[in-house]
């Protein structure tokens, strides 16, 4: 249970004269001041893209799916590519919070709040696609198994698309609960600093009347831990189920047993990349360099190089298995993927996902903010192309060469994709304005255990309790038990 934190590990919170109040001030300040010009510019651009997306979506619903570049052979392309891409991005938040919580990785505290918000927004963007890709959106409620008067008329539980419905909605719900339960105490902090009545009322409502009693904290901790325990397999299951959309089909290039782990690794990979993209901007704009440190970025880069390599291994495995299967359709599908008409997409995928992240084996590159920013965007591009390659190259040339076709997007496809980027950024910018972008309570508890051994020793000396603090950050209590204060 006891965990030893190496003294040479760099502090998770940097900067001079950090106190609890300063943490509160720094983080809450963004919600109290008028937004800077850069925020307005960003918001304007994002909102414009979001509007473009909304127009394109309405156009699609009004005219029909025919406005997209799809054809009789390639029935899914940008829609499901975007869906899987966004779901993948939506994985990092919960993963950072839940899995890192379970693994007691304290460095998560600087980024988990924003990452969780990103998860929610990404899942909202992702969820949009299964909706609008339906030919008859207005009949979309058919997908829910509800008792009805149309005779016994139910859904098909064999369909991975139905599993998706359950997976995505569960994931969104659990992520939201996880995120929000963590936000309540921080909203209370904002409330208690609030000057105006309205502001106080709003933040009190948002905080659900949080006060911070020991009972509340006790249940809070328990809830966090169990939700993390539930969310971790959930995160894995969601992308596994998304991969079932392809893996359970019969189309060569889709029908692949490696998909579940490969998709999960890819999701973590792209999720972390997106977190980096956002956090590098956020820490700069909101001046949170003390809390989102180069150390955080380095840790994320380590995960990126790991998952990127896993994905790379998966790509190669696919090729080897296709060759080894001896099955001509499978062999063709993969040769076509790499060298066929869409070779360029495959090259982008390989280049961005497997090759460039290898730079992160070198510490200097891991800690280089500019490079990280560029590579994180590369990874996002690469992962989009991964999904595009899987979906489109498998479909466009499948079994019967008589149906083979080349897919080209229309302006509507592009506009909807850009639109979801706009919606995502708009929501994120609003979040950055109104919500504490860093988990205040969690950072404080990190600060409380790691902000300085000296201070603890001093305190201990004051009280003549020096012995209790020897050798560990744990606290020895009267009954002799040692509770590990590092286990947050």
């Amino acid at each position: 249970m006891s965990h030893y934190e190496s003294p040479i590990r760099e502090p998770l919170i940097q900067g001079e004269n950090i106190t609890y109040t300063k943490i509160t001030d720094d983080i809450v300040a963004t919600t109290e001041k008028a937004p800077p010009l850069s925020w307005w510019i960003g918001f304007g651009i994002s909102a414009a893209f979001a509007l473009l997306g909304v127009v394109a979506i309405l156009w699609t619903i009004w005219q029909g799916i025919g406005t997209w570049g799809l054809n009789k052979t390639v029935n899914w392309a940008w829609d499901i590519t975007n869906f899987v891409w966004w779901v993948g991005i939506g994985h990092a938040g919960t993963l950072i919070s839940a899995v890192l919580l379970l693994f007691r990785q304290k460095w998560r505290t600087g980024i988990n709040r924003a990452a969780e918000a990103m998860t929610i927004f990404a899942v909202i963007c992702a969820g949009l696609f299964p909706l609008i890709h339906m030919g008859r959106l207005w009949m979309g409620f058919f997908i829910f198994p509800y008792p009805n008067t149309r005779g016994p008329l139910w859904v098909n539980f064999n369909s991975p698309l139905l599993w998706d419905v359950f997976a995505i909605s569960t994931y969104l719900t659990v992520s939201l609960l996880f995120w929000y339960s963590g936000l309540m105490p921080d909203f209370a902090t904002i409330r208690d600093r609030a000057k105006g009545k309205v502001r106080k009322a709003i933040y009190n409502a948002l905080s659900f009347g949080w006060t911070g009693t020991a009972r509340q904290w006790q249940r809070f901790e328990s809830l966090s831990l169990i939700l993390a325990g539930l969310a971790t397999p959930l995160v894995l299951s969601v992308h596994t189920i998304v991969s079932f959309d392809f893996a359970t089909s019969v189309i060569p290039g889709w029908h692949t047993t490696i998909f579940p782990p490969y998709f999960v690794a890819g999701a973590i990979f792209s999720g972390f990349a997106m977190v980096e993209t956002l956090m590098i901007i956020t820490r700069k704009v909101l001046k949170l360099e003390n809390y989102i440190t180069v150390g955080h970025i380095e840790s994320m880069n380590k995960i990126i190089v790991l998952t990127g390599s896993i994905v790379g291994v998966a790509y190669i495995t696919e090729l080897v298995i296709a060759w080894y299967s001896g099955y001509l359709y499978e062999q063709y599908a993969f040769a076509n993927r790499a060298t066929g008409e869409y070779w360029w997409a495959y090259a982008i995928m390989m280049g961005c996902n497997v090759i460039t992240p290898q730079l992160y084996w070198i510490k200097k590159f891991r800690r280089n903010i500019v490079l990280t920013f560029v590579l994180s965007i590369f990874v996002n591009i690469g992962m989009w192309f991964e999904r595009f390659v899987i979906i489109v190259t498998s479909l466009h040339n499948d079994f019967l060469p008589s149906s083979w076709l080349y897919f080209l997007p229309t302006w509507v496809d592009v506009a909807i994709y850009l639109g979801t980027l706009g919606i995502f950024m708009t929501l994120f910018l609003l979040f950055a304005r109104a919500f504490p972008v860093i988990a205040i309570a969690e950072v404080k508890s990190i600060f409380s255990v790691s902000s300085g051994e000296a201070r603890r020793r001093e305190l201990a000396k004051d009280k003549g309790l020096e012995a209790s603090y020897e050798g560990s950050f744990g606290t020895q209590y009267a009954d002799g038990k040692v509770t590990d204060t590092n286990n947050i």
Partner: protein, 300 residues
């Protein structure tokens, strides 16, 4: 509501809080609540709380989800709507696993969060009793419920314990039943004890304060206004900008004739005492450095 009155001890570090808890335990003083800005580990242990049974609830909800998912899917596929789908058997268990899993997690998570909110009294629109606004910032608080029948000795003991454990502030906070959280400061009635006064004396003082005669009040006001000078109400500053002064307090000060930062900055020792006596908020002027703040604000 059993009582609306609390003795509140505020600490500036979680370790001191834990010391105080230990002390209370040792003295057999029952702590009503412990409030902290972040989870202080081991605190619930110190307080002797049982482990929460939230996880048990989660488990029960989860099992319900599993059962509901499996049974509904089985019933639909084999009995209500048996279709030949791609040659698969009606009871296609492997196909049911993903949804079963998802519903298990969903039920567990949603159920548990509901229980959590109910048990913690959390809901949108809840009106919490905020013992101190800095609790969610950097203060660690112990609260002790008291009422009119609470023996003075007990109160004395509590205050002494808190002081002894290094509380940066000890106060009594009273809430009215129809309290509006925005007027929370109206309920702050007294500081029972200046740092080394006896509890009893404190009580006496509190009582004394209550019977402050009109002449005394007038005299104190005069003293005060002599010290700070009078100004026209029209040129008033927003005193709320001073940390520690809220809307209610500002109103009180205005009643006493204090409207500007410059007046605050001029609070002499006597004037300060007068303010504290008249408003019933002892020690705050100095503790929160109103004078310093006011000077800063004047120079702005």
């Amino acid at each position: 509501m059993a009582s609306n009155k609390y003795i509140v001890g505020l600490f500036d570090h979680e370790d001191r809080l834990i010391d105080a808890v230990r002390a209370c335990k040792k003295e057999n003083v029952e702590i009503t609540d412990t409030l902290t800005p972040f989870p202080v580990h081991g605190l619930e242990h110190e307080l002797g709380y049982d482990d929460t049974r939230l996880h048990t609830a989660g488990f029960m909800f989860g099992i319900t989800g599993t059962f509901v998912a499996l049974s509904v899917m089985t019933w639909i596929s084999t009995s209500s709507y048996p279709l030949n789908i791609g040659g698969k058997p009606h009871f296609a268990l492997p196909s049911f696993i993903p949804i079963t899993f998802e519903l298990t997690v969903l039920f567990a998570a949603v159920g548990m969060v509901c229980v959590y909110c109910i048990r913690n009294g959390l809901f949108p629109g809840a009106v919490p009793r905020i013992l101190d606004e800095r609790i969610t910032d950097d203060r660690f608080a112990l609260s002790f419920e008291i009422d009119d029948h609470t023996p003075a000795s007990k109160m004395e003991k509590i205050v002494a314990l808190l002081k002894g454990a290094g509380a940066v502030d000890v106060k009594v906070k009273e809430f009215e039943d129809d309290m509006d959280m925005f007027e929370v400061e109206t309920s702050e009635v007294s500081d029972l004890l200046p740092s080394n006064q006896a509890p009893k004396a404190a009580n006496a003082k509190a009582e004394t304060k209550k019977v402050l005669s009109d002449e005394e009040v007038a005299a104190k006001k005069l003293t005060l206004l002599n010290a700070v000078g009078t100004v026209d109400a029209g040129s008033k500053d927003d005193l709320k900008e001073i940390k520690g002064i809220g809307p209610v307090y500002e109103e009180r000060l205005n009643e006493l004739g204090i409207f500007t930062f410059s007046q605050v900055a001029k609070l002499t020792v006597e004037a300060r005492e007068a303010v504290e006596d008249l408003t019933g908020f002892p020690g705050r002027v100095e503790r929160e450095d109103w004078i310093g703040q006011a000077k800063e604000l004047m120079n702005r």
